[in-house]
């Protein structure tokens, strides 16, 4: 599976006829050093439309952050073109940056400024009208759930609230059309993560285009209209979550847990199942088998046999995670094993 060129899926059919905010054409980035060249991005084509959320998934070192930093104007491309709202960010960085905001990975707000000061100063730098700055900041603080914290210094805030301050700073841009988020919820607790998701999700209504990188599959599933999977600096698949799932040549998965506590009878049953269903993924205590039809009587019967032996197992449709692991090679490396 996942053979052939990048998947474009049903993107055209899925997407409304919105204008393209971000367009990336043939983007490449090669880092040159005395120890040799390293290509971080190779021939990337991408676009994000107004009101659309595109999640960029990929393993560590796949080139996600390099791509985002080039789009944000922090890093110059080796080749290719990036336009934001039709403006080339390499040739005209300041007008392009008027309409984009970015939250860099692991960025910390200023510890000795208050929440309100952060939002006010950054809004002014991004072109907010000084005469109307107070109501503008008030509205942003309310919207991001930070109104009660407005006079607190950032150093007094929890990690989740600090992340929210960065989001408020990113949104403090009157002409915002593109928001770039580099792993926006890494290191925050589940509750704070949900709060960030809701804030990002709400941007759709304002026709703001969002490009986010993430390690969390559930984050992409929750937020993204489309997903692009990047591996070794190349986009290996792009499309809606459904389109990427459909790329797999099987519709279901049989997940078996507790591999290190199997009885001889359980081991024998699993060996039998592995002969009938290819192993899609195995990590630690868990194995996923590829099942052509998770709703077939045969699959249900196999699940019942596992349960009868006290083995924890579940049957269901393939997830984005299955497709992702197959695309970036983790699944292939475990196949047949």
């Amino acid at each position: 599976m996942a053979s052939g060129g990048p998947l474009r899926g049903t993107a055209t059919a899925d997407r409304p006829a919105e204008e393209t905010v971000l367009r990336v054409d043939g983007l490449s980035k090669t880092y040159r050093s005395r120890r040799g060249d390293r290509t971080a991005n190779a021939g990337i084509d991408l676009e994000v439309r107004a009101g659309e959320i595109l999640a960029l998934l990929g393993p560590n070192g796949a080139g996600k952050t390099t791509l985002l930093r080039q789009i944000a104007g922090q890093l110059l491309p080796s080749a290719g073109r990036i336009t934001i709202g039709g403006i080339d960010i390499v040739r005209h960085p300041i007008p392009a940056k008027e309409i984009l905001s970015v939250i860099p990975q692991e960025c910390e707000p200023k510890a000795n400024l208050t929440v309100e000061e952060h939002v006010r100063y950054f809004a002014l730098l991004k072109g907010a009208d000084p005469a109307g700055i107070r109501p503008y900041v008030d509205a942003l603080l309310t919207r991001t759930g930070l109104a009660a914290e407005r006079n607190r210094l950032v150093r007094e805030l929890s990690g989740g609230l600090r992340r929210r301050v960065l989001i408020a700073v990113a949104l403090a841009a009157p002409n915002l059309r593109l928001l770039l988020l580099d792993e926006p919820t890494t290191g925050v607790d589940p509750e704070a993560r949900r709060a960030v998701w809701q804030l990002v999700d709400a941007l759709r209504a304002e026709r703001i285009a969002v490009l986010l990188t993430t390690h969390y599959i559930e984050e992409a599933e929750y937020l993204a209209d489309r997903v692009a999977v990047i591996d070794h600096g190349r986009i290996v698949a792009e499309g809606s979550v459904d389109a990427i799932r459909q790329r797999l040549d099987h519709a279901g998965r049989l997940e078996v847990r507790g591999l290190d506590h199997l009885t001889p009878a359980g081991r024998a049953l699993l060996d039998e199942l592995e002969r009938r269903y290819p192993v899609g993924f195995r990590a630690g205590n868990t194995e996923r088998l590829r099942v052509a039809d998770p709703f077939s009587p045969a699959a249900s019967a196999d699940l019942a046999r596992l349960a009868a032996l006290g083995i924890v197992a579940s049957l269901g449709p393939v997830s984005l995670e299955d497709a992702y692991l197959a695309l970036v090679g983790n699944g292939r490396s475990e196949e047949g094993g």
């Binding site: 944000a72 104007g73 922090q74 960085p93 970015v102």
Partner: protein, 249 residues
């Protein structure tokens, strides 16, 4: 003033306000010490030198404080921003690198100026240094030019450094070399003949010469020095505007 310049000036004012507030909250006590630190040095140096070199010692003391503080603070601020990834945030803002650098560098300028005025007052009150008070505005202008003429050094140390520790070490070493091994505490004529032309490559040499000339009422020398410092400021502004390491290659 063109709209672009007007906007940059407004952005500079915002950056300055933001960073001034942050810095004074974080470093209030240290900044207080920084203001009075040169006075002790002035006592020490005044004890060592002949009375006719007192204006040179005063200028050297002020220059040491200003150059060291300016180079160190700017380089370390940039190093800190790089470590916290805030530098990426600055780069992605619709501002010129000049706005960021000027705003960051200007944060400590008021402290340097207050420090210089205190040092000057001590030199007059305690050591009887005779100066015309009408020269004070010119002296302040000279100090701003000295500040601007060393700004690029701090910027380059900051953006080319690989870690805050390395940036801090580089800034301190380079700052000390620039102040101790260039003729700020002694006249250029005290250098070996071979080194005298070389000394004029450093902005601090011009800075010291200009400030001494202002104190001594040597208008022509002060003017030439002021022009030389303005050339340095212009060169640094052009270098910074071109943004080496602002957008990584």
């Amino acid at each position: 003033m063109s709209p672009g310049v007007g906007r940059s000036v407004a952005q500079f004012a915002v950056v300055f306000r933001m960073l001034f507030k942050e810095t004074t909250r974080e470093l209030a006590i240290i900044l207080g010490f920084t203001i009075v630190f040169p006075v002790g040095l002035l006592f020490f140096l005044n004890h060592l030198v002949a009375p006719d070199l007192r204006s040179q010692v005063l200028v050297g003391t002020i220059m040491l404080e200003m150059a060291l503080l300016n180079i160190n603070a700017l380089a370390q601020s940039i190093g800190q921003d790089k470590q916290t990834r805030e530098f990426d945030l600055w780069v992605s803002l619709p501002i010129s690198p000049v706005v960021y650098v000027l705003g960051t560098a200007a944060v400590l300028l008021p402290f340097s100026i207050v420090s210089a005025l205190i040092t000057l007052a001590v030199a007059v009150g305690a050591f009887g240094l005779a100066i015309a008070w009408t020269t004070v505005p010119l002296l302040l202008l000279g100090l701003v030019l000295v500040w601007g003429s060393t700004m690029g050094i701090g910027y380059l140390i900051g953006v080319f450094g690989t870690s805050p520790r390395q940036i801090s070490a580089n800034a301190q070493i380079i700052g000390l070399i620039l102040t101790l091994f260039t003729p700020v505490f002694y006249p250029v004529s005290a250098l070996p003949a071979l080194l005298q032309p070389v000394a004029y490559l450093w902005p601090l040499t011009w800075g010291a010469q200009t400030l001494v000339a202002i104190l001594d009422g040597a208008t022509r020398t002060a003017l030439v020095g002021g022009i030389a410092l303005a050339v340095y400021v212009t060169i640094w502004l052009v270098v910074i505007a071109r943004g080496p390491r602002w957008r990584e290659a």
